[in-house]
């Protein structure tokens, strides 16, 4: 068995992270991670005639970029594992049309990147694939249209709201060829603590993050300070403060090594209130910032926890609370 404890997968054959690529929109390019992103778009329509098409093209671009970065060819990819936030994950499926590569669609809302990497690493580890590409994408304008209001509607965004990140990220996982390995991962459970406010996703997702963190640490028998960096996906400012408190309540002391991609994504001047959200958020940070710092050896041991809110517009209009999930993946430098 490659399973440890109740929820954690330990990859014995050490699948590795061969390459990665991030494509982001102009606003993200001006944010805190701006200099790490490989491609920053000047126009977030990306030459397409709809934001949905632009999102799909961003994912395609990140795929080709990652393939290039890994030094392989498209045809070397055995499986493309991807997801996004659009209904029926059309952005991913439409992107996969042009690759001529077997495809698995994933949905875990904003946790999709961790979910894809977790499944991708398992495929490689189990010998079912040599090379797997994992990708997610999100786009501010397509998400606003689907989940919130028309862009031109003159309303104020609530102070607890987050800004959906316009970004796509793709990782190439392989049997060998790199010293950054996917060491283990933890599959999260759906957690719902009855938060109903769709403008306060951070608060809804924080309990899921803490449950997965708790399960991961206890399954692996570790403490948080064994990691150089613990990175959550898009809890935002409020959500990450809540995670801090909840972790402490559960006897887990998070220190300076804890950080949230959503909170870090934008500068204060960019007025995004609680920070970034969306499944492209952690995907773009993993494949730019985390990857480049791990290659340099500045980071050796990174715990990624991507959180997702599993509601739809219908479910929240019908008054349901927001079920959430979090998956964890550990990247480790081995030399």
């Amino acid at each position: 068995m490659n399973k440890i404890g109740k929820q954690t997968l330990l990859y014995k054959n050490k699948p590795c992270l061969l390459g990665g690529y991030a494509v982001v929109g102009p606003k993200e390019g001006q944010g805190n991670f701006g200099k790490y992103f490989q491609t920053v778009l000047k126009d977030d329509l990306f030459g397409e005639n709809s934001y949905e098409a632009a999102e799909s093209k961003m994912m395609q671009t990140s795929f080709y970029g990652a393939v290039d970065d890994a030094g392989i060819r498209n045809v070397d990819v055995d499986v493309f594992v991807a997801g996004d936030l659009m209904n029926q994950i059309v952005s991913s499926s439409f992107a996969a049309r042009s690759f001529d590569v077997p495809y698995l669609g994933m949905f875990g809302a904003c946790s999709t990147m961790a979910e894809s990497m977790l499944v991708g690493a398992a495929l490689v580890d189990g010998g079912f694939a040599r090379i797997v590409a994992c990708a997610t994408a999100s786009h501010f304008s397509s998400v606003e249209k689907q989940f919130r209001y028309p862009l031109e509607l003159g309303t104020q965004r609530p102070p607890t709201s987050q800004w959906t990140v316009t970004a796509a990220g793709c990782s190439i996982l392989s049997e060998h060829g790199s010293n950054i390995i996917v060491e283990s991962s933890t599959i999260g459970k759906v957690v719902d603590w009855d938060v109903k406010d769709v403008n306060n996703m951070g608060a809804a997702m924080a309990p899921a993050a803490v449950e997965t963190l708790k399960a991961h640490l206890s399954d692996m028998g570790r403490s948080p300070d064994e990691y150089d960096l613990i990175l959550t996906g898009d809890l935002g400012k409020l959500g990450s403060e809540i995670l801090f408190d909840l972790a402490e309540y559960n006897g887990i002391k998070l220190g300076n090594n804890y950080c949230d991609c959503g909170q870090m994504m934008y500068t204060n001047e960019q007025k995004t209130f609680m920070g970034g959200s969306g499944c492209g958020c952690i995907a773009s940070v993993i494949n730019s910032y985390v990857l480049s710092r791990m290659r340099k050896g500045e980071l050796r041991n990174v715990l990624l926890i991507a959180t997702g809110a599993l509601m739809s517009t219908t479910s929240s209009q019908q008054g349901n609370s927001i079920p959430c999930i979090a998956h964890a993946v550990v990247l480790k430098r081995r030399d």
Partner: protein, 122 residues
């Protein structure tokens, strides 16, 4: 005409109505569609109980520009046509009285919808 005092009254009353709307948004987190419906119904009720006309005489555009005025016109049309034409009037009166605004809104929405594209927020 072009009377400064009446402009000041218009400003104060119109501003105050919007301020109440903003208080509702902050305290109850209601969305803009609900704000519009709430104020429109308020206008219908005010007209129905005969309070709107005296307010309008005093505040002018201060109450007719907010969507309260739109609701009041609907109700006023229905009441007046009901009085002159009977039951048929209560069905035709409201929309007839507001037809200009509705047609302008629909036509404006259509024309600019065809001409313009949505732009991403920065």
């Amino acid at each position: 005409m072009f009377d400064i005092t009446s402009y000041i009254i218009t400003f104060l009353i119109g501003g105050a109505i919007c301020l109440v709307g903003q208080i509702l948004i902050i305290t109850t987190k209601i969305t803009s569609a609900r704000i519009l419906v709430t104020f429109l119904l308020l206008g219908v009720v005010l007209e129905g109980i005969g309070l709107f006309e005296p307010i309008k005489d005093f505040a002018g555009s201060g109450v007719t520009v907010p969507i309260i005025g739109f609701g009041a016109s609907l109700a006023k049309g229905a009441i007046e046509a009901g009085a002159s034409e009977g039951v048929l009037g209560i069905f035709t009166g409201g929309l007839s009285a507001t037809a200009g605004g509705l047609a302008a809104a629909i036509l404006g929405g259509f024309i600019f919808g065809v001409l313009c594209n949505s732009k991403t927020k920065k």
